[in-house]
């Protein structure tokens, strides 16, 4: 009969760890694919952005607003970034409840018989012995897998760096003329 120690050794922990790892890798790939697809859609979607509004107050006190020409910018350019997630922690918990029982049962049945007749007699003794040995084993096991996901910053090069090169000559004024 297998001991409790042997039962514990029989737990397929390496296989469980391997399957958890593969499951996490598969889920991570799906998450990354979704984020990359979202980034692509954000880059492809443009919105007209009004960058300046001029408020004019006339001499008679009336106020008017004039919007600057809208500039088409992608959602990625205006700072909408796909959220990237990463599995930061994985835990496997295995709980086993092992119960072993052994019972032994011995039955002895003794019967005696005697006969007496004319000048003779006979006697017999019958003994029946039976042994029963029962082994019982009850194993209950539960396993629990816990993973933790955290948002991580998007890759730095996911969006182009914004730089301004202004080559316009400075306006001439009495100070710098």
């Amino acid at each position: 009969m297998a001991s409790v120690g042997q039962e514990l050794l029989a737990v397929p922990l390496p296989e469980m760890v391997m399957k958890l790892g593969l499951g996490i890798a598969e889920a991570q790939r799906a998450l990354d694919e979704n984020s990359v697809e979202t980034a692509q859609l954000l880059a492809d979607t443009t919105v007209p952005l009004v960058l300046a509004v001029t408020q004019t107050i006339a001499a008679d006190g009336t106020v008017s607003f004039v919007n600057a020409d809208p500039v088409n910018v992608s959602l990625l350019q205006i700072g909408l970034m796909p959220t990237f997630y990463q599995f930061s922690e994985a835990t496997i918990e295995v709980t086993m409840d092992i119960k072993t029982t052994t019972s032994r049962e011995t039955n002895i049945k003794v019967s005696a018989k005697a006969k007496v007749g004319f000048g003779c007699w006979s006697a017999s003794i019958q003994v029946d012995v039976s042994h029963n040995r029962k082994f019982g084993k009850e194993v209950k096991g539960t396993s629990r897998l816990v993973t933790k996901m955290v948002p991580v910053p998007p890759p730095e090069r996911i969006a182009p760096e914004l730089t301004v090169v202004d080559n316009r000559p400075p306006k001439e004024t009495p100070d710098n003329a």
């Binding site: 697809e37 859609l41 205006i78 909408l80 730089t163 306006k171």
Partner: protein
């Protein structure tokens, strides 16, 4: 916040049914919405949704873009203005 792209024009009602709110309508089939996580999971498996993905606003990048574009429409620094 999520970027949602639908297959039909009934996207907004789908978002509202799942407890979400529309933040920005990009067109009839594409919008930015806020959703509870259960709503996100529900829409993910909805055949009327062609794509749904979480997005976040990068405030630094938005500020930098606004600054950059403001520079291009403002007088050259160094001038009297």
């Amino acid at each position: 916040m999520y970027l949602v792209i639908g297959r039909s024009m009934a996207l907004e009602s789908l978002v509202k049914i799942t407890g979400g709110e529309v933040v920005l309508r990009l067109n009839g089939r594409k919008m930015l919405v806020t959703l509870p996580f259960a709503g996100y999971l529900s829409l993910r498996s909805n055949y009327q949704i062609s794509h749904i993905g979480p997005v976040a606003v990068d405030i630094k990048r938005l500020a930098k873009l606004a600054e950059m574009l403001a520079k291009t429409s403002s007088p050259k620094p160094g001038g009297a203005g």
